[in-house]
């Protein structure tokens, strides 16, 4: 006896095939592109697709809206950068430390904050993020507001350092986004995934079915924090520099959440679709409209997000009918 009807196994299989096809296409994408700016744009888009997928696991599947994810990003970036520049530990190893510290930080934030519900949780994460931002700006160990520069020594896969050539970073970020996607795919079909969606929908009902609500949230937070922290470590290697503003700022927290929100919260493809739309628009609007200091680029970007939210409140993935399987008709209520 199996509870899974064919339709759902089939859907999950289709998603896996879709993911594999997309992976191949994205692997080929930069080859015909010679423009370094465009290649860099794609690298950033892939990074945010992964970061937002990490956010989506806690915010989307488990319904705990975090406005402090820059905290985990920054911890991951600093951990790997400090281990590399001061102790010579290569970033591919340092990333494990980043993931562990990101998960730990998410658990430490979750311990008090998951006792709050709804908006209070979101506000608490926001405050936590700002506290750590202030701390980092004044903490000598992390070079305070000066930040940490990762000096370029030689082109190396061990050190994840590459001169000009963006291509290796393309594949690193692609691997990152793909792994984040794969984790979300596994989670969707797992017991944890079910418990998270139950917690999101109705805490009391979940509890009465023996779902342990608090540990469920903590598990989602740990996975989410770890994924985000690894993205931070990759970002630090890519840019070669990390400081409190670029690694811990509030705007970064928003930028991590936005692709999932605009693309479709709690969906597998939402963060990818959202990042593919938002990150290029954001970068291009800075390039074309920004720089004068009048904020036209931000106004344009903000207007676009509002328009998208009004047009597709369920997220952009709803354009593809990914969720229409549920059957839209509302049955007559007796």
């Amino acid at each position: 006896m199996t509870v899974r009807p064919n339709a759902i196994t089939m859907r999950r299989r289709r998603e896996l095939i879709g993911g594999a096809v997309l992976l191949v296409l994205l692997a080929l994408l930069p080859l015909p592109i010679a423009n370094a700016y465009l290649r860099g744009l794609i690298v950033l888009t892939l990074l945010y697709a992964g970061l937002s997928q990490g956010w989506n696991i806690l915010g989307g599947y488990c319904g705990q809206i975090s406005l402090g994810h820059a905290l985990y990003f920054g911890i991951g970036a600093y951990a790997s950068a400090i281990l590399f520049t001061r102790y010579g530990i290569p970033p591919p190893l340092g990333m494990f430390a980043s993931a562990a510290l990101g998960a730990l930080a998410a658990l430490l934030v979750g311990w008090p904050c998951f006792r709050l519900s709804g908006h209070y949780y979101a506000i608490a994460t926001l405050v936590m993020g700002m506290m750590v931002l202030l701390l980092a700006q004044n903490w000598g160990f992390v070079n305070a507001a000066m930040g940490i520069t990762i000096p370029f020594r030689k082109q190396s896969w061990v050190d994840l350092e590459f001169r000009i050539a963006v291509l290796p970073f393309h594949y690193l970020m692609l691997a990152y986004a793909a792994i984040a996607w794969a984790i979300a795919w596994v989670v969707e079909g797992s017991r944890w995934g079910f418990s998270w969606r139950a917690v999101k929908d109705d805490v009391a009902a979940a509890e009465s079915l023996a779902v342990r609500v608090f540990p469920s949230k903590m598990a989602a937070a740990a996975i989410s924090g770890a994924i985000t922290a690894v993205g931070g470590a990759l970002y630090a290697q890519y840019v070669g520099f990390i400081d409190p503003d670029s690694g811990l700022g509030l705007s970064l927290s928003v930028l991590i959440a936005l692709p999932a929100v605009v693309g479709g919260v709690g969906t597998l493809w939402g963060p990818i679709v959202g990042a593919a739309v938002l990150i290029p628009v954001q970068q291009l609007s800075v390039a074309w409209l920004g720089g004068s200091g009048n904020g036209v680029d931000l106004m344009f970007y903000g207007a676009l997000i509002m328009a998208l939210a009004l047009a597709r409140p369920q997220g952009l993935v709803s354009l593809f009918g990914a969720r229409s399987r549920a059957g839209g008709e509302v049955a007559d209520r007796a």
């Binding site: 509870v3 899974r4 759902i8 079910f194 009391a204 079915l209 023996a210 779902v211």
Partner: protein, 242 residues
């Protein structure tokens, strides 16, 4: 109130149970027994404390007194532990996961179970409610009221309960379906599941129940065989508004 079940035969035994909402007492020393295999009804007017009683047994509120299920004290056990012991509540208003599919709701019912037969109760659920099988991929929120109630009962059955508690299963559904739901309750009992049911529909409920308790403002004012309570004109007029 003397126990109504021979000592040692009670699957669920409640003594001197008190519960309150923010200091406002809702239950004043309830005593109640449910023997294995019984259908026991709890009836009474709105605000008599019927739902509170079920929620207290399910571990969803702070209580005083004793609740013993199969020899184990339930007080101070977390709700998820009580669920694992085999006590399932179909709550008032159903509390389905409206955004999840019918299938996902049923799977969540089996959440606490492990092993290859964790979806075993599914056969019973489909047998009782064939409509659910046809609507597995549909979102729970798009089901009709009657179908939602079937799903709520189905989800509770997926926990393989020994005691199934139902809170107003007839609420908000078509009269014709009420009979179907109550017939399903009888069939669930025939499978060895003990039932504690709270209902406003007295005639139908007392017809399937073995025994009943009448609650009024947080106290048991009468208990006995369901048939006797249903036929006692005084009781009907005084407590049940019939």
């Amino acid at each position: 109130m003397p126990p109504d079940v021979a000592p040692g035969r009670a699957l669920l035994s409640v003594r001197a149970l008190t519960a309150s909402y923010r200091g406002l007492a809702a239950l004043h020393g309830i005593a109640l027994d449910v023997a294995a295999g019984e259908i026991v009804a709890v009836v009474g007017a709105n605000g008599a404390g019927k739902s509170t009683l079920l929620r207290a047994i399910a571990g969803q509120m702070q209580t005083g007194g004793d609740i013993v299920f199969d020899g184990t004290k339930l007080q101070r056990l977390a709700a998820h532990r009580i669920s694992r012991m085999g006590v399932a509540l179909v709550p008032e208003g159903r509390r389905l996961f409206m955004r999840l599919s019918v299938e996902d709701n049923l799977r969540l019912g089996a959440y606490a179970r492990h092993g290859p037969d964790r979806f075993g109760p599914l056969d019973l659920v489909y047998e009782l409610f064939p409509r659910l099988r046809e609507r597995l991929a549909q979102r729970a929120g798009t089901l009709s009221g009657g179908e939602q109630q079937m799903l709520a009962i189905g989800r509770a059955l997926m926990t393989s309960p020994r005691l199934l508690m139902l809170d107003e299963p007839s609420q908000g559904i078509m009269p014709r379906l009420v009979d179907d739901i109550l017939a399903a309750v009888e069939r669930i009992r025939a499978r060895g599941v003990t039932i504690l049911i709270v209902e406003q529909r007295l005639v139908e409920t007392l017809a399937i129940a073995d025994r009943a308790y009448v609650l009024q403002t947080g106290r048991v004012v009468m208990s006995g065989a369901a048939r006797e309570i249903a036929s006692d004109a005084e009781v009907r007029r005084a407590y049940l508004g019939m």
